[in-house]
């Protein structure tokens, strides 16, 4: 059974310096509050994994938590670039950032292999692209039946997988619906997992389209209402598109960003 913890307790206990950490959520249900708690806890040298690093990863990178980023698309969706990410890659600010880059299909299959207890996954991917030249984590494999050559990627098994969900019951069974992305795979691929939820309820009423992660497959659950803001939790909140736009000028400027960190993360009470 998952343990019910406060967010700050959970991050303190589950995330260690140098860990491989994945915060997933595909536009929907992004665990932003958990990311901010990682910044507040001043975790360092993390290898951050995420298919679509967006503003919470820009913030983690700008705050100096990350040593490496494993990803497939980094941007502020519908707005533009991630300036903290660019600054780290192009100017090593505040610390150098190593990158390992995949396609979405490659990343998704890395999580699938991780969740499946397999060392690698096979896909029709990366064909004719320059991506395999930049990492040793994209290789080819031959079909033992047809001889055809396909792409192979290694399993991704984070030390800690963090996702946000609509709700959990007191045994830590987690229920999420709407766009469910790669959250199940992230939790199952990770050695430890944390799910932040909008609310903890006595009973999980069935919801069409919902998936349930059994509590015995989750390490910890923390109740963090609004924990995905400015992303959204279907049935609980709407995406705050303005916040995504407002991030752009903050992220562009080191000073404004530093000020934002101070006022919006460090001086904010822990969730």
């Amino acid at each position: 059974m998952a343990r019910l913890l406060r967010l700050d307790e959970a991050i303190a206990e589950l995330v260690g310096d140098g860990d491989v950490v994945a915060l997933e959520g595909f536009t929907h249900l992004i665990p932003v509050a958990a990311g901010h708690e990682i910044i507040r806890a001043r975790k360092r040298d993390l290898t951050l994994c995420r298919m679509t690093p967006d503003i919470v990863y820009d913030q983690l990178i700008g705050a100096g938590c990350a040593r490496k980023l494993v990803f497939s698309w980094g941007g502020n969706p519908g707005v533009g670039s991630l300036h903290r990410f660019r600054d780290a890659v192009q100017h090593d600010w505040p610390v150098p950032l190593e990158i390992e880059e995949h396609s979405h299909a490659g990343m998704a299959n890395r999580y699938v292999a991780g969740a499946s207890g397999l060392p690698f996954a096979v896909l029709r991917g990366y064909l004719g692209t320059d991506l395999p030249a930049q990492t040793s984590n994209i290789r080819t494999i031959e079909c033992p039946f047809t001889g055809e050559r396909l792409a192979a990627v290694p399993a991704l098994n984070p030390d800690v997988g963090i996702v946000h969900a609509q709700r959990a019951d007191r045994a830590g069974n987690v229920q999420l619906w709407g766009i469910t992305g790669v959250q199940k795979e992230t939790v199952l691929a990770s050695a430890r997992s944390l799910v932040t939820v909008e609310e903890i309820v006595d009973e999980l009423e069935p919801v069409p389209g919902a998936i349930v992660l059994p509590g015995w497959a989750v390490t910890a659950v923390a109740q963090v209402p609004g924990g995905s803001h400015p992303s959204y939790a279907q049935g609980y909140s709407e995406r705050d598109n303005t916040a995504y736009q407002q991030w752009d000028p903050i992220g562009r400027d080191r000073e404004r960003f530093t000020e934002w960190l101070r006022t919006s993360v460090f001086e904010e009470a822990g969730a």
Partner: protein, 248 residues
């Protein structure tokens, strides 16, 4: 009605979509085009977004590929691994839309980096779903604004395969899909030459001169034997497109 060159580009992309076909949609221009098509000549167009929504029927333009309205209106919502493995990879999807920072004369697209990978001039968002959209969709439509910086002789980085750096690599690798069959811009339409695979001007948007397109293209642009002029957006197309955008 007056219209912008961007509106013409979106309308051209919408017109290229056959009714009843399945379309892998990115955000921005492709989403506008696909939703416009569904509201005009292609009511049974199946919109598929990489967030896992199959058959989404939004009544406004979604603001991201994970907009809640996509899940709420979809025939089915599946996981992200499933959308790539069960739906995109086997070649079930007729058309994939792509765009990017750079496209070269053989239709290769760069959304990764301007300059050197290790010492980038500009770090771009990266691959996303594009590498597999480029090879697994039956064909690819590209929607991009014409400029010499975007339409380059050779891309700095091949994020998504067109016909390869030599125009021949795709035929050697034999992916499922045909590749970029049509590049729709704010000036006209380029299509691969059947023999050389080089992108060639086949249509102009109304009021655009060949010289304008040449000037906006970073390689010596060849012309198809016959160059047509696209019909301007109809009133229905324009008003539908604008209504979709206003609703967002």
């Amino acid at each position: 009605m007056t219209y912008t060159s961007d509106e013409m580009m979106t309308v051209a992309a919408a017109r290229a979509l056959r009714d009843g076909s399945a379309c892998f949609v990115g955000i921005g221009q492709p989403s506008a085009a696909a939703n416009l098509a569904r509201r005009t000549h292609a009511p049974d167009l199946v919109l598929i977004y990489e967030s896992g929504t199959l058959g989404a029927k939004p009544d406004r333009l979604p603001l991201s590929i994970g907009d809640g309205i996509l899940a709420e209106t979809a025939d089915a919502v599946v996981s992200v691994p499933e959308i790539f493995n069960y739906w995109l990879q086997p070649g079930r999807i007729d058309v994939g839309f792509l765009g990017g920072a750079q496209i070269d004369r053989f239709g290769n697209i760069n959304t990764t980096v301007i300059g050197d990978y290790a010492e980038p001039k500009v770090r771009l968002p990266g691959a996303g779903g594009a590498p597999e959209i480029a090879t697994s969709c039956r064909e690819v439509f590209v929607v991009m604004r014409h400029s010499p910086r975007a339409f380059v002789a050779e891309v700095d980085f091949v994020t998504s395969l067109g016909y390869g750096r030599d125009g021949k690599q795709r035929d050697a690798l034999r992916p499922l899909g045909k590749g970029p069959t049509r590049v729709m811009t704010d000036l006209g339409v380029l299509e691969p030459d059947p023999d050389t695979r080089e992108l060639t001007l086949t249509a102009l948007n109304p009021g655009v001169e060949v010289e304008q397109v040449r000037a906006a293209t970073g390689w010596e642009l060849r012309l198809a034997e016959e160059i047509t002029v696209q019909d301007p957006p109809t009133e229905t197309e324009l008003s539908t497109l604008r209504a979709l955008k206003e609703a967002s």
